[in-house]
C-alpha cells in the first residue's frame, strides 16, 4: 500500500478511529493487525517472511539474553539469520550475475540459474532494526518481553517500508504508555502528512520528469543541461525521501507515537562529514553504531580509520541496492570522507587562521563545494549502469568548456515546452536552494516554531486543494521503497 494511494486514504482514518476507540490493551494488537494488512496488501505471502523473521529474532535474542557462555554464538547466529535472509532476497541474483561476469573474464562461460525472487518491500529496513535490537541486547540492554510489542516494533506500518530505522529503546516504551487522545496529535500528524505529500507529489514527482529524461537520454542534453538535471535529481531524491519520512512521522503522530527525523537540511552542509549527519540520519547513525564502531571506528591508526570509513560507506552503498553503481557510490562517499579528514589535517598543519575558517565566506564556499561533490555522487547513484554514469560524467566534465561559448540555445531543457517543470527549472532550482537557507535561518525563530493559528489552517487548506488537483496520484512509488 502506498502512502499516496486511495487505499491509504481509507486505511489510515479507519485505523486512527479504531485506535482511539478501543481500550489501551487492544491498541498494540490492533496496530499489529493493521501493519500486517498494510504489508500484505502488496504481496500477502511476504507477510510470512516478516512474521518468520520476527519470531526467529524474538526467540534467538531471548536465548542470547539468558545465555551466560554462548552469548557471542547467539549474536552471530541471529545476525547471520538476518543477513542471510537479506542476502537471499536482495543480493542473490546480483551475486550470481557478478560470478558469471568474473568467470567471463577468464573465458569461462556459465549459465547462471534464474532466480524468481521479488524483493520484499522494506526488507533492508526491518532487517537493520532486528540487527540493532540483537546488538543492543548483546551489549546488555533490557529485552522486549512482550511479543506483540516486539512484532509491532518491526512491522509498524508508518515506518515499515522505508524507515526511519527506529531504535527499540525509543519506540517500544511508547507502546506501554496509556495515552489519551489529544487534538494536537491530529493537527501535527495531518500537518506532517500534508507537507510530506506535497514534497512528494508537487516537487519530487515533477522533478522526476526532468531527471528521467536526462538519465535515460543523456545524449540529447548538453553538459550544462546535465548539471541542471543532476541538481534536479539531488532535490528529487531529497523531497521524495523527506516527503516519505514526513508522512511516516505524521502517521505515527496520529497515534501519539514519535519516530526519529531523517533529514536536517542536508544541502547546507559545510562538509561531506556534516552531510552524513544531516542526510538519512537514521541510516548513518546505524552504520556508525553497528558497523563503523565495531570495525574499530576512529580509535585506531589513521590508515585503519580510513579503512573503516571506506568499508562502512561502501557497504552503506551496497545496502541501497544490488548494483555495482550503488557500491561505487558508497565507495565514492568513503573516499570523500577520507579526503575530508586529510583536508582538515592539512589545514591544521598549515595553521590556517581559525577566524578565516569560521568566516561566512569560507562557510559559503564549503557549502557550495560540498553540494557539488554530493551531486557528482548522485550520478553514480541514479544512473542505471556504470556505462550511463560514465557517459553523464563525461558530459558534466565538458560543461566548463561549454560555458566559454554559452548560449541559451545549448539548453535543451528550455526547448521542451511541456511539462512546466522543464522551462521552469532555471527559476525553480535557485528557489529550492534558497529555501534551504531560509528554512535554516527561520528554524531558530520563535515565529517559525509556532506559526500563527490562522496561517497553519491556511497552509493546510491550500495543500489539500493542491493535492486534490494532483490526485489520483499515478506517479511512481517512492524511490527508497526499492531499498
Amino acid at each position: 500500500m502506498l502512502f499516496n494511494s486511495l487505499q491509504y486514504l481509507v486505511f489510515l482514518p479507519i485505523v486512527f478511529i479504531l485506535f482511539w476507540l478501543v481500550p489501551h490493551k487492544f491498541r498494540v494488537p490492533l496496530l499489529l493487525v493493521a501493519s500486517y494488512v498494510f504489508y500484505m496488501s502488496w504481496r500477502p505471502v511476504y507477510g510470512l517472511l516478516i512474521f518468520g523473521l520476527t519470531v526467529v529474532n524474538f526467540i534467538f535474542v531471548d536465548r542470547l539474553a539468558k545465555s551466560e557462555k554462548r552469548k557471542k554464538a547467539w549474536l552471530v547466529a541471529t545476525v547471520a539469520a538476518n543477513l542471510i535472509t537479506l542476502g537471499i532476497f536482495k543480493y542473490a541474483s546480483f551475486a550470481l550475475g557478478s560470478v558469471k561476469g568474473a568467470l567471463g573474464l577468464f573465458d569461462i562461460s556459465w549459465r547462471e540459474p534464474h532466480l524468481h525472487i521479488i524483493l520484499p518491500l522494506g526488507i533492508s529496513f526491518f532487517v537493520f532494526e532486528f540487527i540493532h535490537y540483537v546488538a543492543e541486547i548483546y551489549k546488555g540492554k533490557p529485552l522486549v518481553k512482550s511479543f506483540p510489542q516486539f512484532a509491532l516494533f518491526a512491522s509498524f506500518f508508518p515506518t515499515q517500508i522505508a524507515g526511519p530505522i527506529k531504535r527499540y529503546q525509543d519506540f517500544v516504551p511508547q507502546l506501554s504508555i496509556p495515552s489519551q487522545f489529544k487534538w494536537e496529535y491530529l493537527d501535527e500528524g495531518m500537518q506532517l502528512i500534508l507537507m510530506g505529500l506535497a514534497k512528494k507529489v508537487l516537487l519530487a514527482d515533477n522533478l522526476s520528469l526532468v531527471v528521467q529524461a536526462g538519465f535515460n537520454h543523456p545524449e540529447q542534453f548538453s553538459g550544462i543541461d546535465m548539471w541542471l538535471i543532476v541538481y534536479a535529481f539531488a532535490f528529487q531524491i531529497f523531497f521524495d525521501f523527506a516527503g516519505y519520512t514526513d508522512i511516516a512521522r505524521g502517521s505515527a503522530k496520529l497515534f501519539g507515537y514519535k519516530v526519529p527525523i531523517n533529514f536536517n537540511l542536508p544541502y547546507i552542509a559545510g562538509s561531506v562529514a556534516e552531510f552524513w549527519h544531516r542526510w538519512h540520519i537514521s541510516l548513518s547513525t546505524w552504520l556508525r553504531d553497528y558497523l563503523y564502531i565495531p570495525l574499530g571506528g576512529s580509535r585506531c591508526s589513521k590508515w585503519m580509520n580510513y579503512r573503516n570509513l571506506f568499508i562502512t560507506m561502501t557497504l552503506g552503498g551496497l545496502w541501497h541496492g544490488a548494483g555495482s553503481h550503488f557500491i561505487l557510490w558508497g565507495a565514492y562517499q568513503g573516499v570523500l570522507l577520507i579526503l575530508h579528514k586529510e583536508y582538515t589535517a592539512v589545514l591544521e598543519k598549515l595553521n590556517v587562521s581559525k577566524k578565516f575558517l569560521e568566516s561566512k565566506l569560507y562557510h559559503i564556499f564549503s557549502v557550495v563545494c560540498t553540494f557539488q561533490l554530493v551531486c557528482f555522487g548522485w550520478v553514480l547513484f541514479r544512473a542505471d549502469s556504470e556505462k550511463v554514469a560514465w557517459e553523464i560524467i563525461k558530459k558534466l566534465m565538458h560543461a566548463p568548456a561549454e560555458i566559454w561559448h554559452f548560449s541559451v540555445n545549448q539548453l535543451t531543457i528550455l526547448q521542451i515546452r511541456d511539462p512546466i517543470i522543464f522551462p521552469a527549472l532555471l527559476v525553480l532550482l535557485p528557489l529550492l536552494i534558497i529555501s534551504q537557507i531560509v528554512v535554516n535561518w527561520l528554524n531558530d525563530k520563535p515565529i517559525y516554531q509556532s506559526l500563527p493559528w490562522a496561517m497553519q489552517v491556511a497552509v493546510m487548506v491550500l495543500l489539500m486543494c493542491v493535492l486534490t488537483v494532483f490526485s489520483p496520484d499515478s506517479s511512481p512509488r517512492f524511490i527508497y521503497f526499492q531499498f
Binding site: L6, Q7, V10, W183, L186, D187, M190, Q191, L209, Q212, A213, N216, H217, Q220, F406, S407, V408, N409, L411, T412, L414, Q415, I416, R417, D418, P419, I420, P423, A424, L426, V427, W453, Q456, V457, M460, V461, M464, C465, T468, V469, F470, S471, P472
Partner: protein
C-alpha cells in the same frame, strides 16, 4: 478546536463553491484555448467540433485509428496534399461521392480517434450530438475495440478524461455509473471526482497553468538571457521530440505535424509484421468483462441513436488475416454475432467489410490499417451504401414501431446467440 478539522471544513466549502463555478464551464472552452501545439487527439477534435456549432453536419463518423486512417489517407489523395491527423476532422471524399450521387445534405464531421472504444463512442454521441442536424452516425469497429487488454477501464481513455465533467453536469447518474470499473477504489474515485471538481483533472489544470506559466516565464528567461548578453529563448522542441525524450509523458498528446497523411505513401515491405507484437499484447488474454462492458456501451449507443432519430451505419472494418489469426475463433465469432444481432435489434445498418474478401493485401498499410487504395475503396463503399439505403433521411415512425417489436423478440436472445456469458 482542531486546526485540521477547521482546515478540512474550509476545504469542503471551497470545493462546494468551486463545483458550482467550474461545472458551468462548457465545452466551448476548447475553442477559447490558445493555439497551443500541445493537445490530445480528443482535444483537437472537440475544439474543431465546437467551431462547427450551428452548421448542419448530417453525418458523424466514429471509430478508432481503423477509421481515422482511411478518412485521412483518402482525403490526402483526393486533395493531392499532406493532411494533419490532428487538424483534419472530416471526409471530403465522402462528401464528393455523396454529392456525385445526388445527395444534397452531405457534410460530415469525423470523431475518429486513435484507440476509441465503444464506451467513448457512446460518450461522444451522448454529449456532443444534440445539435447540427445530425442524421447519420457512421461507426467503424474492429475486434480490438471490444477486447483491448491495454484498457484498464472505460474511464481510463482520453475522451472520458475530456468529457466526463460534462457527463456529471448532465446529472445522468446511470450513464456516469456505467463508466466505473470494478472494485471499491473505482467507486471511491468516482465519488471523489463527482464531489471535488478538480479531482482527476490534473492534465487540464496543468495545461492552463502551462500557458499562464509560459507567458510569465518567457519574459523572465529572456530578461535573464539579455542580462547575460546572450540570444533570446530558443525555438521549442516539437511534441514528437518531447515524446522521444519523455515517452511516457502525456502519450495521447499530438502535435500538428506529428501525424501526417501523405497522398502517395510508400508501401513498407515489412508492414505485416511490425505491429503484430502490439496486437498480441492487446489480444493475449481475452477479458470477457471488457467485452461485456464494451458491448453494453455499443448497445447503448444504438439505443441512443434510435431515441434521437439518427440512423446508424455500423461498419465492421476490414483487417488482415495475419491480424485476425491472433484472435481465437470464438472471440471473432462472438464479435461478429454481436454486431449482427445488435444492429438488427436496434434497427441499425450493418456492413461487414471483414468478411467477403472485398479487401486484399494491397489495400492494407499494415495488419489493420488501410492503405490509400483501401481507404478510397472504403469511402466509396460507405457512400454507396448511404445513398442506396437512403440513410440521410430520418427514420419514420413506422420503422421505429417495427424496430421495437423486433427488439422485444430478439433482445433477450442475442446474448445467448453470441455464446458468451455476460
Amino acid at each position: 478546536m482542531s486546526r485540521f478539522i477547521i482546515a478540512f471544513l474550509c476545504f469542503l466549502a471551497i470545493n462546494l463553491l468551486a463545483t458550482k463555478v467550474l461545472l458551468q464551464a462548457s465545452l466551448d472552452d476548447y475553442t477559447k484555448q490558445s493555439q497551443s501545439e500541445e493537445r490530445t487527439w480528443t482535444e483537437w477534435a472537440l475544439a474543431d467540433f465546437a467551431k462547427q456549432k450551428g452548421k448542419p453536419l448530417p453525418i458523424v463518423i466514429l471509430g478508432s485509428s481503423l477509421v481515422l486512417t482511411p478518412v485521412s489517407l483518402a482525403d490526402a489523395n483526393f486533395f493531392n496534399g499532406t493532411i494533419s491527423g490532428a487538424l483534419h476532422h472530416r471526409s471530403d471524399l465522402l462528401d464528393k461521392f455523396l454529392a456525385a450521387s445526388g445527395e444534397r445534405m452531405s457534410s460530415n464531421f469525423s470523431f475518429a480517434l486513435p484507440g476509441l472504444m465503444p464506451s467513448d463512442a457512446y460518450l461522444i454521441a451522448r454529449l456532443m450530438l444534440d445539435h447540427n442536424n445530425h442524421k447519420l452516425i457512421v461507426y467503424g469497429v474492429g475486434p480490438r475495440d471490444f477486447v483491448d487488454n491495454l484498457l484498464a477501464s472505460p474511464a481510463s481513455t482520453d475522451p472520458y478524461r475530456c468529457l466526463s465533467k460534462s457527463l456529471y453536469e448532465l446529472g445522468d447518474r446511470q450513464a456516469s455509473l456505467s463508466f466505473i470499473g470494478k472494485g471499491w477504489q473505482s467507486h471511491l474515485d468516482f465519488i471523489l471526482a463527482n464531489h471535488f471538481p478538480v479531482y482527476g483533472h490534473k492534465e487540464e489544470i496543468l495545461a492552463i497553468l502551462l500557458r499562464q506559466w509560459q507567458g510569465l516565464m518567457h519574459p523572465v528567461v529572456n530578461s535573464i538571457a539579455s542580462l547575460a548578453i546572450i540570444p533570446v529563448l530558443p525555438n521549442q522542441l516539437t511534441v514528437a521530440d518531447v515524446h522521444n525524450i519523455l515517452p511516457n509523458y502525456n502519450p495521447m498528446s499530438i502535435g500538428i505535424k506529428q501525424c501526417l497523411f501523405f497522398p502517395h505513401p510508400q508501401i513498407d515491405p515489412d508492414r505485416f509484421s511490425k505491429d503484430l507484437n502490439e496486437y498480441r499484447q492487446r489480444y493475449q488474454k481475452v477479458n470477457w468483462d471488457t467485452f461485456a462492458c464494451q458491448t453494453e456501451f455499443f448497445k447503448n449507443l444504438l439505443k441512443l441513436a434510435r431515441v434521437n432519430d439518427f440512423n446508424v451505419l455500423v461498419v465492421a472494418m476490414p483487417i488482415t488475416s495475419v491480424n485476425r489469426e491472433l484472435l481465437p475463433d470464438y472471440v471473432l465469432t462472438a464479435y461478429r454475432q454481436n454486431l449482427r444481432v445488435l444492429t438488427k435489434t436496434y434497427g441499425a445498418s450493418f456492413i461487414d467489410l471483414d468478411n467477403g474478401g472485398r479487401f486484399n493485401d494491397e489495400d492494407f498499410g499494415d495488419t489493420v490499417h488501410l492503405s490509400t487504395t483501401g481507404s478510397i475503396k472504403f469511402i466509396r463503399i460507405v457512400a454507396d451504401y448511404v445513398r442506396q439505403h437512403k440513410l440521410l433521411q430520418s427514420r419514420n415512425s413506422q420503422r421505429r414501431i417495427q424496430d421495437r417489436i423486433q427488439e422485444r423478440n430478439v433482445d433477450h436472445t442475442h446474448l445467448a446467440n453470441t455464446g458468451v456469458k455476460i
